[in-house]
Amino acid sequence: MISQFFVLSQRGDNIVFRDYRGEVQKGSPETFFRKVKFWKEDADGDAPPVFNVDGVNYFHVKVAGLLFVATTRINVSPSLVLELLQRTARVIKDYLGVLNEDSFRKNFVLVYELLDEVIDFGYAQTTSTEVLKSYVFNEPIVIESALPLGPASIFMQGTKRMPGTAITKSVVANEPGGRKREEIFVDVIEKISVTFNSSGFILTSEIDGTIQMKSYLTGNPEIRLALNEDLSIGTSDYRGSGAVILDDCNFHESVHLDSFDIDRTLSLVPPDGEFPVMNYRITQAFKPPFRINALIEETGPLKAEVTIKVRAEFNSSINANTVLVQMPLPTFTARVNFELEPGAVGHTTDFKEANKRLEWGLKKVVGGSEHTLRAKLTFSQELHGNIMKEAGPLSMTFTIPMYNSSRLQVKYLQIAKKSKAHNPYRWVRYVTQANSYVARL
């Protein structure tokens, strides 16, 4: 059980503070924030999500730039508390539509109301947005957000037919005009990790996928979600060559798997709010969306040249967004001169002096295209060792909407309620993001 719950802004201000058991001193937010802030200076790296100061255990998760914190003196399950914090954040987001400091401050009474029902005397009661609806009376003050945070934001670019605010509306607030729009979102989000060795071979690759659902349907109809029939789980469950093989997966508790083994269909009555229907993990080889080539050569006593080539290996109808290539350069790098290919549009280059890092941003990369960057480095001191050991590895981040690496698909999305004339909007969207996309020199 937990003793206190609080939310801090990035600057360390208390936005909400709920003391459930009175076992931990009131000044805990200050203690906590000081510790987190100085962790980098005292030790190294970020503060771990769980730590102990003077017998008090502090748990925290970062959501949308805010720190959700719980304290306790008891030796509890860290996994339970961290999950509870994460879920509390999600419930609050379901109600507020947008989760940020501003929406929190405007709605803190509603947040207190939620916190009272989610946790009582430190024990989790319910984190179901649905159940909470009957206990919560404050109306959310909806914040108009230009840039929604969280997984929703990745769909904002590229998909023009999507109403921009759809996924950021509150589950309880009504649309302007008083009518609720019947719609359901199913998002297949895949985060990919690939490591290439110096000769371009793939050393490791993994896909971490989630099928995320957010339902705004009234009357809680049952939904059937059909996936590829050739989907295999584990190597023992082989369904022919070319099949999508999941190493493992797990499901939301509302999911019924009665016919999953037969036809790969999930049936569920989606609860209100956002939740993951299924998480899965794939280590089966897949075609990486980008090929990267990087070269660093000494060209003189105090000079070297870096050449980076990026090739988009996906269909030309698809674009990758917000591509960023980064590479640590040798410590003694003093100056960098960049040379972009002629006619490059939307490219940015930068040399981050402080951490000696090269950054190359590409706003949009069309499938099938190739881009090259040359950078001439000047050193302030002569290098001793092997220059290859002084630079790299190169890493890349990107988002590719309407593309998924695993070929896992939602074949159809069926809503049981058919009697009414109107047909709810159904959105099935795919997106691939880089988690750790690294090329070694």
Binding site: G27, P48, Q86, F121, T195, T204, D208, D247
Partner: protein, 844 residues
């Protein structure tokens, strides 16, 4: 009314109002609204209440508004009511007199028609935390527990717990625990049931210190009827309550194996839950239920691997860390099960360093013959990492792998490449590692010394690295041409050396060098002793004085003290005792795993929670530290050591080689059959020509180096005069207890003969064979190629017992042995006996 006390925790943000003037302003406005019945009053009240609560949140004391807030609370607006309840709950404790004012309207609301209002009022009533108001709680709580609405009942159950914390006697006198117990077993609503369980666990745990009945009730919760009752309803519970139930089940002791399988079958689908907390709780049940069944236990590891890995990669980074910490614990306990999953433990460049550290340790643990090359290659990539602490850890990891492997060829090359990378921190870490490596594998000295000799001591600044370099200069001074001169120049700069550790090493190294190359070192020795005697650091001074007097007394004695025949270190002392590790395992799915410490090291006794384990060992150590509520970590560790000493019967005779310090005490100790009687110096010389020259057999180290010379049945040593009781008996309970208590005294790897492997179709074949050698099996299991056995044996004429964990991999024809013994001094002899018996397996 008293003025508000000065605020210590004022808002850190400068944009917030100073408070005082605004509070009095709010007070005025609240007063105006209190009696008003004009339309729109509620809306104005809402705005005002929000301001009050906003101030409360940022730490401004608004308790002086208590009276006004209560006056304004007469309303039917539920949003207003909730805000008022929140305020009252926060300040009632500091304003007990005024809190009395609220009792009236709260009690009235407890009888409201709307169950929402009843529940809310009851929750607020119980949250006042004012001792002299408890009499007003009993009535509403009693009817709340009988309410026909489940929401009110869930609130009432937690209310009972709140009452208990305000006034335990009132709660007990009202017989509430008994009511809760009834509700727990009969209520239709699972959240009511779950809350009853939480409340009763807390109440009975606290009561059990004074009441035997409460202690009995608490124990009863782990009994079959209760556990089955909860298990049968498990899927009705919320995911949080499922965690609660599974924590209870993990402590249940089933009567037979079929019961264990029934429970595991029932809970298996919980491993596919998206909530990591549920998955971990299930994992704990599986692990704890199967502790006594070695083979099933191993299968459990295999079963939980995939779900845990999925949890690590699917959740938020924080949640992923919590799961990874548990996976780390499992990997450390059974690395061989995870050896093919090593790629999952590769670090990603964007991971926080606390995650990387865990992964590096896991990579180190799972390294074995088949994956070492790839793991070490990966680790070498991290050594050039921009994140210097991680780069250091990676180099250390390479070194650790080198120390635990027998095929160190490739690794030594990599380490030496580190030395040539010319990065300060890389050189430093690599030097320390090369030193450790040489202590274990002296035969590598030629290769290492050639590279180390090229490193200028001026380029090494870190004390640890410098000390390592100096140690090598002293130890191998006959092989390093300029050793005396390097040492001499170091002695000349004595005053500039700030680290006492380095100066201590320097003294010893000069002494060692002196006995090997007297004419060249004499001058340096004189200077070093003089500087040492004048040193302000006590230890340095003492050591210099000691050496001086030793030399004065007898030079040849001095030589045998400083340059004794050395035995290679077989196993470096583990940082954590196996007893501590087992205790952490007992506390699976708790903070102990994340902190890598048992709970008594970081919690006060009263906060140890329901996870407190009840076996004798635990109580023993917990009792040892009662008296102080906050025990400094240092003292607790000492207690822990005492405990260890008391549980091992003869601990004084230890393998001198396993001494962790860089300076080994001279090993005159006759109790160890020291076959390497030739001085290390000779060994190093003689190995110049033939590295393959084997030291005399009979020592553990030979087996570790087994790959260098012919292996298999040919090297079977003749059994020493240790005889075993052919009819030894030990019950499984005692075995488990002993296994937990005793430290590992030997950990080795043998090769098996091809004939033996061929005969090992079923575990039983080996059991019968070992039995014929007076070694009994207590548990066995596994499937080809991995088998696991637990053996025990007893000395023929004493009660002294040996315990063995033996893991055999038939594909690699290797067996890993861990020996624990009552009498540690004879464990070496026993190991030889065991190996001899094992090597005869399969022979006609």
């Amino acid at each position: 009314m008293a003025p508000p006390p000065p605020q210590s925790n004022r808002s850190p943000s400068p944009s917030q109002p100073s408070g005082k003037s605004e509070v009095s302003d709010l007070k005025l406005q609240l007063r105006q609204l209190a009696g008003s019945r004009a339309p729109g009053t509620d809306d104005s009240k809402r705005d005002l209440f929000k301001k009050v609560i906003s101030n409360m949140t940022i730490g401004i004391d608004v308790s002086s508004l208590f009276g006004e807030m209560v006056m304004c609370s007469a309303t039917s607006d539920i949003v207003l009511k909730k805000m008022c309840y929140l305020y009252v709950g926060n300040y009632a404790k500091v304003n007990p007199d005024l809190a009395l004012l609220t009792i009236n309207f709260l009690q009235r609301d407890c009888k409201d028609q709307d169950p929402m209002i009843r529940g809310l009022a009851l929750r607020s009533l119980c949250s006042l935390r004012v001792a002299n108001l408890v009499e007003y709680l009993v009535g509403p709580l009693g009817s709340g527990l009988k309410d026909n609405n489940s929401y009110v009942r869930t609130v009432a159950v937690i209310g009972v717990l709140k009452l208990y914390h305000i006034s335990a006697t009132t709660c007990i006198d009202a017989d509430f625990p008994e009511t809760l117990k009834h509700l727990m077993l009969n209520d239709q609503d699972t959240q009511v049931v779950a809350n009853c369980l939480s409340a009763l666990q807390e109440i009975w745990t606290l009561e059990s210190t004074t009441s035997e009945e409460a202690a009995r009730e608490r124990e009863n919760l782990h009994s079959k009827p209760y556990v089955y009752y909860f298990l049968n309803r498990i899927k009705e519970f919320s995911e949080w309550a499922q965690c609660l139930v599974m924590e209870l089940v993990a402590k249940y002791i089933p009567s037979d194996n079929s019961e264990i399988f029934d429970i595991m079958n029932l809970l298996e689908d919980r491993l596919q839950h998206a909530n990591g907390a549920v998955v971990l709780a299930t994992t704990k049940v599986f692990l704890h239920l199967t502790l006594s069944m070695a083979d099933v236990h191993q299968q459990v590891y295999e079963r939980i691997k995939a779900p845990l890995l999925t949890q690590v990669s699917s959740g938020s980074p924080e949640q992923s860390y919590a799961i990874l910490s548990h996976l780390h614990l499992l990997v450390m306990r059974a690395p061989y099960i995870f050896s093919s999953d090593y790629k999952h433990f590769y670090c990603q460049y964007n991971e926080p360093s606390y995650v990387k550290k865990l992964k590096l340790e896991m990579l180190t643990a799972v390294a074995n013959e088949s994956n070492t090359y790839e793991i070490v290659t990966e680790l070498c990539e991290y050594a050039a990492n921009v994140d210097i602490p991680i780069a250091r850890e990676s180099i250390r990891a390479v070194g650790k792998i080198a120390l635990q492997q027998y095929d160190v060829n490739a690794i030594v090359d990599r380490l030496l490449q580190f030395l040539e990378m010319e990065k300060d921190y890389v050189t430093s870490e690599a030097l320390v590692l090369v030193k450790d490596l040489l202590r274990k594998y002296p035969q590598w000295s030629q290769d290492c010394i050639a590279v180390v000799g090229n490193i200028s001591s001026n380029n090494v600044q870190e004390p640890k690295a410098k000390a390592a370099l100096i140690w090598m200069l002293g130890e191998y001074s006959q092989d390093m041409h300029d050793a005396p001169y390097v040492l001499e120049s170091l002695v000349e700069n004595w005053d500039e050396e700030h680290s006492a550790e380095v100066r201590l090493h320097l003294l010893t190294a000069v002494m060692k060098c002196f006995f090997k190359r007297p004419p060249e070192t004499q001058k340096a020795l004189g200077a070093a002793l003089a500087a040492g005697l004048a040193d302000f650091h006590q230890d340095v001074h003492d050591r210099a004085l000691f050496y001086y007097r030793l030399l004065q007394y007898n030079v040849s004695v001095a030589e045998s003290v400083v340059n004794p025949p050395k035995q290679a270190v077989s196993v470096f002392a583990d940082t954590q005792s196996s007893e501590v590790k087992d205790r952490i395992f007992d506390e699976f799915n708790s903070l102990s795993v994340v902190y890598q410490k048992p709970s008594y090291m970081f919690t006060d006794k009263e906060h140890r929670g329901t996870l407190e384990f009840s076996d004798e060992l635990g109580n023993l150590s917990i009792n040892a530290e009662t008296g102080d509520s906050v025990v400094p970590a240092q003292r607790v560790e000492e207690n822990d050591k005492d405990l260890l000493l008391s549980t091992t019967e003869k601990d004084d005779v230890r393998d001198p080689g396993s001494n962790g310090s860089a300076y080994n005490a001279p090993s005159y100790n006759g109790s160890v059959p020291s076959a390497t009687s030739q001085p290390l110096a000779d060994l190093a010389f003689s190995s110049t020509g033939a590295t393959g020259q084997a030291p005399a057999p009979g020592l553990a180290i030979d087996d570790l180096l087994g790959l260098d010379f012919s292996v298999g049945t040919a090297t079977t040593p003749s059994p020493p005069p240790l005889t075993l009781n052919p009819k030894a008996v030990l019950d499984p309970g005692t075995f488990q207890q002993k296994w937990r208590q005793l430290p590992i005294s030997l950990s080795e790897e043998y090769s098996l003969s091809p004939l033996g492997i061929a005969s090992l179709v079923t575990p039983n074949a080996l059991l019968r064979h070992m039995q014929s050698h007076s070694i009994q099996c207590i548990a066995s299991g596994g499937q080809s190629p991995n088998f696991k056995f637990f053996f025990f044996a007893q000395k023929a004429e004493e009660a002294s017992i040996y315990l063995v964990e033996c893991i055999i991999n038939t594909s690699s024809a290797k067996s890993q042995i861990k020996i624990k013994a009552d009498d540690q001094s004879s464990s070496q002899a026993f190991s030889t006996l065991f190996q001899s018996a094992l090597s005869k397996f399969g022979l006609p």
